[in-house]
């Protein structure tokens, strides 16, 4: 069974540009989560999507946004990139059950120069 897949693996952008990160969940999982892992800051919750709707959002500015498609895959968009946005962005998926563990992808390493 395929795991959570994220693309691209690496992304280099210039300050002020936009970045789009993609995530395909495990088959049958309807919930998708996005996390930012910046150096020294741990894992910060970004967004939770379920059944195409945004269910919860972390303490990030509006330039971080996303969506979930009918096939449950998801996109994270970061507008007006800042140097501080450089981080590993992790996507996870799970069934829509609170007791279910989330399974993580390998991440997208975003570097803003």
């Amino acid at each position: 069974e395929a795991g959570v897949t994220q693309s691209p693996t690496h992304l280099i952008k210039t300050r002020g540009q936009q970045a789009t990160l993609r995530c395909s969940p495990i088959s049958g999982h309807t919930s998708v989560y996005w996390y930012q892992q910046a150096l020294g800051l741990g894992l910060q919750f970004l967004l939770w999507y379920d059944e195409g709707e945004e269910r919860n959002r972390g303490n990030f500015p509006p330039r971080f946004s996303g969506r979930q498609f009918p096939n449950y895959s998801s996109e994270l968009n970061v507008n007006a990139l800042e140097l501080e946005d450089s981080a590993l962005y992790l996507c996870a998926s799970s069934p829509a059950v609170a007791a279910a563990e989330a399974f993580f992808g390998q991440g997208t390493r975003l570097t803003v120069v």
Partner: protein, 115 residues
Amino acid sequence: AQSVAQPEDQVNVAEGNPLTVKCTYSVSGNPYLFWYVQYPNRGLQFLLKYITGDNLVKGSYGFEAEFNKSQTSFHLKKPSALVSDSALYFCAVRDRGKSWGKLQFGAGTQVVVTP
């Protein structure tokens, strides 16, 4: 609001010795608790979870964790550490309310197992 604390930035242990990684949590009501492990430049791998019932939970790769409600702790343990257990370990908590999708992580504990 829910929160997780991992009081040790790093734990050093000799191969073959017991390994303990500490985690305490704060959440209203009964939590769901998880442990994950991360190897360099990789995503997180699920180790084990506490949902309800037996306070001792067994997981992958010989790891186990003990849920202690009175101390609001969920420490990860392994009786005999291996060099290959060297990695970054994260404790996470999730409440059972409307915002259940927000899995809150601790800061992580780096485990170094020396031969």
